[in-house]
């Protein structure tokens, strides 16, 4: 782990670079990063996972939503060092062996996207929602996705897709 080998109390010494180990979509990724690097920066620029997008850069829009230990976070502001030793999931990890997740399939079926810029974040927020609430009501979906903005669709097809995916889940 990151602090392995450090003397007790040594963690109190400030570091300009840190060694961290992220598990990204199931793959272990040891990295040396600066503390200032956000999870979105590390995913996009160091790991080539450009699915998560930066839009408002203020934790409002949700385009950068990724999951850390199953919880949605704003990749634009969440420090990558805080994902040290944790499980990170991104839109690139949703499909398994080329098989789309029920949510991805429902998004295509309902055309729950237009420009697609919000879609990776929307899918991750909805994934977290369905993992915690497998059979959500329409009101649950509206509350669960209130913090994810979409400027194209007017939301209706997104809500419909999430409800459809919930029904389709094994």
């Amino acid at each position: 782990m990151a602090d392995a080998g450090n003397a007790p109390g040594a963690a109190a010494v400030a570091q300009a670079r840190l060694e961290v180990v992220l598990t990204v979509n199931g793959t272990t990724r040891p990295l040396t990063i600066e503390p200032r690097e956000t999870l979105a920066e590390v995913l996009r620029e160091r790991l080539g996972l450009t699915g998560a997008k930066i839009s408002c850069d203020a934790q409002v829009c949700g385009a950068c939503t990724v999951l850390v230990d199953g919880m949605p976070v704003s990749g634009c502001t969440f420090l990558a060092v805080d994902a040290d030793g944790r499980r990170v999931r991104t839109v690139e990890g949703l499909a398994v062996d080329g098989q789309l997740s029920p949510l991805q399939a429902a998004f295509i079926d309902q055309a729950a996207f237009q420009c697609g810029f919000c879609t990776p974040g929307m899918l991750m927020a909805a994934t977290a929602l369905l993992e915690e609430t497998p059979s959500p009501s329409r009101a649950d979906v509206i509350h669960g996705l209130e913090g994810n903005l979409c400027r194209c669709t007017g939301y209706e097809p997104i809500i419909t897709a999430v409800l459809q995916a919930a029904e389709a889940q094994p």
């Binding site: 109190a12 400030a14 934790q59 409002v60 949700g62 913090g147």
Partner: protein, 291 residues
Amino acid sequence: MIPRFALARPASLADAFAAFAATGGDGAYIAGGTELLQVMKMGFAQFGTLVDLKRIDELRGVAVEADGRLRIGAATTHREIERSPIVAAEIPGLVALERGVANGRVRSTGTLGGNLAFAEPHSDPATFLLACGGTVELAGPTGRREVSIGDFVVGPLATSREADEILTAIRIPPRAAGEGRAYEKVAFFERPAASVAVRVRVADGAIAEATVAVGSMTEAPEIVAGAGAALVGAAADGDAVEPAAAAAAGAFDALDLIEDLNGSADYKRHLAGVLLAKAARAALAEARIDG
């Protein structure tokens, strides 16, 4: 983008104090970072070193202490509070409030201590905890002290915390028999335009004690003593409390309300009155749990 900084990740308070001392005044503590990193990103603050408090065990967890008070470790996230069965049992109003804080991502990351220490004037928890008689515990290199929320949050983005002190825990008194607490807000943008918290204690079918706190409209959440006093004596019944709430809202006339994009002062004063009535009814509903 977030400017460069060095990071210390102490596992104990002692190490945290040492790390902070080593920054030579160019450091800050960080927990969830949802507020601090945002202002750093916007160029409003810059620090050479941040001292991360999330690895310090005693800053985490929720428990009822021997004296009956609820203790919430300062680095407990909004999400943990929202989902805590202990909080749900002890302070249901706080769970309802947390469910409406920012969005799910901020709640996953942001902490209650961070929220209070940042002292954003629109803080939901600060207003509610002020009405509930909550306190914060501050630990410094030379010792610990406990201060009320009202003495802690002293202005916009200003608290009575010393630079090297760490907010370690929040304590909330247990709900007494016949007591109810509620928080209501209205938001037009990301942060509330107006918020009101009400605490009542009901005895013999009437309000025996009441505290009213307002938030988001003033430089810091504040208790409006006149409003609380005006509720005392009112019948402890949802509909019957309306006239008393209307009278209590008169006390808001004296408040120095901030005019901003959320609205002008007279409109916010009106909203506060609407929220007061709503919060009073909700607090009475909670108080009725005891019959």
